[in-house]
């Protein structure tokens, strides 16, 4: 339960962040979606032993988080929640792969550990990229971008309604749990015997409520397109943003800059 409430809180937090007005927020949603895609592909395309070459990609989320005024703590929290699966799978690498990979004068690191850290870093970067996208764009604008990418309307509608009803549902959960606890003598949680009827009740109630919300949308001229205001055109700045990052990613992909810097410094 608390999990669900927390996720509602999370959704709404990101929603509210997306309402800010910063340089990043003003970039065309389509451009942001595309940039994110390129970024993800570049991150994931790195070989599993390439750790240092991956590092310059950290700049992308860092710069955007700073420019878009996104608080870091909630993002980190989110990351902790998602991390276990990635760590769980990645942790097998050091177990299975003992081949020496990095040989430092004082320590030898096996390929398994390198690939583990590489998975971990990729995890962090991809998670941040997704969160940053939504926190600077918002669901409705992402939907608009999907529309421009010719994703069928039915699917976009489905996406937006699911999104909307998540709030409705979790609100209903919250209300139900609160009402329950007020009249249930301070027991913790919900008695097992009440679970069935509460869940079913919740589903039906949410359904009825969702129907009313949908009707009220239709009453205001809704015909399958969510309109989010001025359909901005893609501007010069947007294109620069995209090409700028795109070039940066490609350069990073082909040249291992940290290694170059490192060898410059250490003189190897």
């Amino acid at each position: 339960m608390s999990n669900m409430i927390a996720s509602l809180y999370n959704i709404r937090l990101l929603d509210e962040l997306a309402e800010k007005r910063t340089i990043i927020h003003n970039i065309h949603p389509l451009i942001k979606v595309l940039t994110t895609c390129v970024y993800l592909i570049v991150v994931v395309s790195f070989n599993k032993y390439e750790l240092s070459g991956l590092l310059p990609l950290v700049f992308y989320p860092v710069i955007i988080i700073a420019l878009a005024d996104i608080p870091i703590v909630p993002l980190l929290k989110r990351m902790l929640v998602v991390a276990p699966f990635i760590i769980g799978i990645g942790l097998f690498n050091p177990l299975f792969d003992h081949s020496p990979m990095v040989v430092l004068p004082w320590i030898q690191i096996s390929g398994g550990w390198i690939s583990f850290f590489s998975i971990l870093l990729k995890g962090v970067l991809t998670i941040l990229a997704a969160l940053v996208l939504i926190a600077t764009t918002g669901m409705t604008r992402i939907a608009a971008a999907l529309g421009m990418m010719r994703v069928p309307r039915v699917f976009i509608l489905q996406l937006l309604l699911t999104y909307r009803y998540i709030s409705v549902l979790i609100e209903e959960v919250g209300r139900t749990v609160r009402a329950y606890s007020l009249r249930s003598r301070g027991e913790k949680g919900i008695r097992f015997s009440d679970w069935g009827s509460l869940t079913g009740q919740l589903l039906i109630r949410t359904l009825e409520r969702a129907q009313r919300v949908y009707h009220s949308m239709c009453c205001r001229g809704f015909a399958g397109d969510y309109n989010v205001g001025s359909e901005k055109r893609i501007q010069i700045g947007d294109i620069l943003y995209f090409t700028g990052w795109g070039l940066y990613f490609v350069v990073i992909r082909y040249f291992n800059i940290p290694a170059a810097i490192g060898s410059l410094i250490t003189g190897v």
Binding site: D15, E16, C218, R220, G221, A223, N227, S230
Partner: protein, 253 residues
Amino acid sequence: MSHHIIQANNLKYTYPDGRQALNGVTFQIQHGESVGIVGANGAGKSTLLMHLVGILFPDEGEISVGEVPVIKKTLPVIRQSVGMVFQDPDDQLFMTTVYDDVAFGPRNYKLPEGEVEKRVKSSLETVGILHLMDRPPYKLSGGEKRAAAIATVLAMKPDILVMDEPSSALDPKSRRRLITLLKRFTHTKIIASHDLDMVLELCERTIILNNGQIITDGTTLDILANEELMEKCGLEMPLGLQGCPVCGAKKAT
């Protein structure tokens, strides 16, 4: 659709669980009339109003707005001219900010963004919550939600205004503001309410529903002052009409 006569003919509606909520309702409302719909809890007021915008369709009988029958196919036309405020404002607010919520309707009609902004701001101002513009609707107090719900409908500039208990949850000053606003609205308005004093101020005509049927349909003053009739329908004379204990005179007339 210039005349917007609303015509309901022997409407019957039974909810899927077998509850008959409307049982033969017939009326005609002329352009520019303002009609109050009153009746006890569960009388069928909300059910009736939902037929006017095609959220429910009658099992029997028919209803038309400005010669256009309210059926699935005509809904876009109907909903462009009829704006409805729901009984529960939570059903009506679904965007992330109050501004976007109020702008939702005008944007659907593809108005230029400048015009949208003008409409949104003026509607919010009319109901007195311009300062709440950037807040998410689910964080508002009960009365603030109600005001926002009313604004969403005003921004659509409907030809016919249908309201289900618009004054409930509003504080007295906002209620007064709403009444003033509605008085200025010259198109047709249909208001279901338990706030009989408001009905008395706003509507020349009143329809009393009881158990899904029309009991009376006539001049508001005649009806609301009829103590016996009101009593019979689970109602009470509005305070404004109850005699003055000092001089015994009826106040409003």
